[in-house]
């Protein structure tokens, strides 16, 4: 069984690696989007799915990465792969600034602080016009890098998923899940809850930061409205919840299914689509709190570590 799974995984990765050779431009762009959503939903899952601390502002890390990357490419002439790493670093720094005051406390403080973070970053970006171009946005030098970005985004999606697997199967992951189930008990067992939560937040900020910088390079132009929309946070939450929060492959499943559904079905009803996402969140929380993968795990006794 294990061999079959390993062979199938390798085959899938090989097919994805070969795809840009014969795929259309639209196809490559769509796959790259799916990779991005896998990385975003998987990253949200690391903090919210594993520790139970809900982040309502993960797009802030995405936007911070996008601006850091774009400023380094456009202003300092950095090559984009390096700028993407810097985007991840910028998001991590932001995570420390927010996590340090808000995660020391139990309760909803972190969730609400993340809810406001988005607006704050948008205001700051508009205010520091000299650096960010303000409301006019920031243009990057033209460069067609969609195929290399496809590969880097793919590696990012694999890296985030692999990280989730490593965490879930480690003692560190067990401690995070203990915090989720009962923080007071976790503390009583000697777990340094603050530093564990902070570490989970930092790990969950890197992926969105890198993805944001890659997106900025790919689009060639960013503005506050395009990199800090609430819709990105909503989408990653919906994907992770639908697939199964706290699982390794739930966000992957959610990202693929909902992205395809969005492209095929809902593209014809653009106005109903955000409403639908709100409704899916409500429905999943009430009816299927473990998500699709959680349900399958329960019914078919699949291992906990998928």
């Amino acid at each position: 069984m294990k061999r079959v799974v390993a062979a199938a995984t390798l085959l899938l990765l090989a097919a994805l690696a070969a795809y840009p050779v014969f795929g259309t431009g639209y196809g490559v762009r769509s796959m790259q989007q799916i990779f991005m959503w896998i990385a975003l939903a998987g990253s949200w899952n690391l903090i919210s799915g594993l520790t139970g601390y809900v982040s309502f502002g993960h797009v802030a890390f995405f936007g911070a990465g996008a601006y850091a990357g774009a400023i380094l490419v456009a202003g300092a002439g950095w090559p984009w792969p390096l700028a993407a790493l810097a985007g991840g670093a910028a998001a991590t720094v932001l995570a420390v600034v927010i996590g340090y005051p808000c995660l020391r406390l139990k309760g909803p403080y972190f969730a609400i602080a993340m809810l406001g973070l988005n607006e704050v970053l948008r205001a700051l970006v508009s205010y520091f016009e000299g650096l960010t171009g303000g409301g006019n946005g920031l243009s990057l030098p033209t460069l067609d890098a969609s195929v290399p970005i496809y590969y880097v985004m793919g590696v990012l999606a694999v890296a985030v998923t692999a990280m989730a697997w490593l965490i879930v199967t480690s003692r560190f992951g067990l401690r995070l899940m203990t915090i989720r189930e009962d923080e007071v008990a976790a503390e009583a067992m000697g777990i340094d809850t603050f530093h564990h939560k902070l570490a989970a937040l930092l790990l969950s900020a890197v992926g969105p930061g890198v993805a944001g910088a890659l997106m900025a390079r790919d689009q060639g132009y960013i503005e506050p409205v395009s990199v800090f929309p609430l819709a990105i946070t909503v989408t990653m939450i919906v994907m992770a919840l639908f697939g199964g929060k706290g699982t390794v492959f739930g966000p992957v499943l959610g990202a693929v299914v909902l992205f395809v559904a969005q492209e095929i079905v809902w593209a014809s009803y653009p106005y109903f689509h955000p409403l639908l996402f709100g409704a899916i969140i409500v429905a999943v929380v009430l009816l299927m709190p473990r998500g699709v993968l959680g349900l399958l795990q329960q019914r078919y006794r699949l291992p906990r570590t998928i």
């Binding site: 809900v54 909503v234 919840l241 709100g278 969140i281 409500v282």
Partner: protein
């Protein structure tokens, strides 16, 4: 950039801060009641405020009502909405981990904002009723804000009288202190949860109705109010209802004071920095709240 602050400017800041702060206190009291009684942070609080503002808009433009007389109507309408939301959805996650209630009310909030966008479009709307300002001793008192202040103070005072002196208020306070003991004393906790959620929604609606004459109305106007209401609760101390008054006035004053030195663009940032500072220095609130 150097700014010379004269005593007159400071007095004006205090006036504007108190006028703005009364609305913060009113709206935050609603969020605080729900949190105190159910341990649920209602992320949809801001969107409920938005629905209150639209209620006033339609009553004034379609039925020619005086906008300030629509306040009780908007409160009653949103009380019903709040009761239905609590009965249908929120009640199922009251005892679940915090993550569930946060995500659920977040989903409700997204749905409400987008429903409003479909039903009312994203066009900015305004209720034109009264403009200008009274000038007294060199200080400007914006007319709509002064009237809104009077109404906000009135509704807040009534809420405190309700909490302090009625059986219902006593039951609400008892439930928020200890649900088990309240239950043992014969309080119908399920009913209290429902009524408190309705009351919280009604207070948000009152804020929205009063804001309708002051700011532009659009589906996303509520978003920042969930955040600011929570900040007010943190400032005053969670679980400490009079704390909402202090917190609201403080937030109004700080924001107005900051506007002397910074552009209004950064007013969101000021509120945010305030939240982070309080969480770092005095997480139980300035007045000291109940530890949870």
């Amino acid at each position: 950039m150097s700014v010379v602050v004269t005593p007159a400017m400071l007095a004006q800041v205090i006036v504007s801060g108190i006028l703005a702060g009364s609305l913060y206190a009113l709206v935050a009291l609603g969020l605080g009641l729900i949190f105190g009684v159910m341990r649920v942070i209602n992320i949809a609080h801001g969107p409920l405020l938005m629905l209150g503002a639209y209620t006033t808009y339609f009553l004034t433009t379609r039925l020619n009502m005086n906008p300030f007389l629509t306040v009780p109507v908007a409160m009653a309408a949103l009380f019903v909405v709040g009761v239905l939301l609590q009965r249908g959805l929120v009640d199922r996650v009251v005892d679940a981990p915090e993550l569930s209630s946060l995500l659920l009310t977040f989903g409700i909030s997204i749905a409400l904002v987008n429903l409003a966008q479909l039903a009312f479009t994203s066009d900015l709307r305004a209720v034109e009723y009264i403009t200008g300002a009274w000038v007294l001793g060199g200080l400007a008192f914006s007319k709509p804000r002064v009237i809104a202040f009077v109404f906000a103070a009135g509704v807040t005072a009534l809420s405190f009288l309700l909490l302090k002196f009625t059986r219902l208020g006593k039951a609400i306070r008892a439930t928020s202190q200890s649900r088990e003991v309240a239950m043992v004393c014969g309080v119908d906790v399920g009913r209290i949860h429902m009524l408190t959620f309705g009351l919280g929604a009604a207070l948000a609606a009152a804020g929205g109705a009063l804001l309708a004459v002051i700011v532009a109305i659009q589906p996303e106007m509520g978003g920042v109010w969930t955040f600011k209401s929570f900040l007010v609760i943190v400032l005053g101390g969670a679980g400490n209802y009079p704390g909402a008054l202090v917190g609201g006035l403080l937030l109004g004053l700080v924001e107005q004071l900051a506007s002397l030195f910074l552009t209004t663009q950064l007013s969101e940032v000021v509120a945010y920095v305030l939240l982070v500072l309080v969480l770092l220095v005095r997480p139980s609130g300035l007045l000291g709240g109940r530890q949870t």
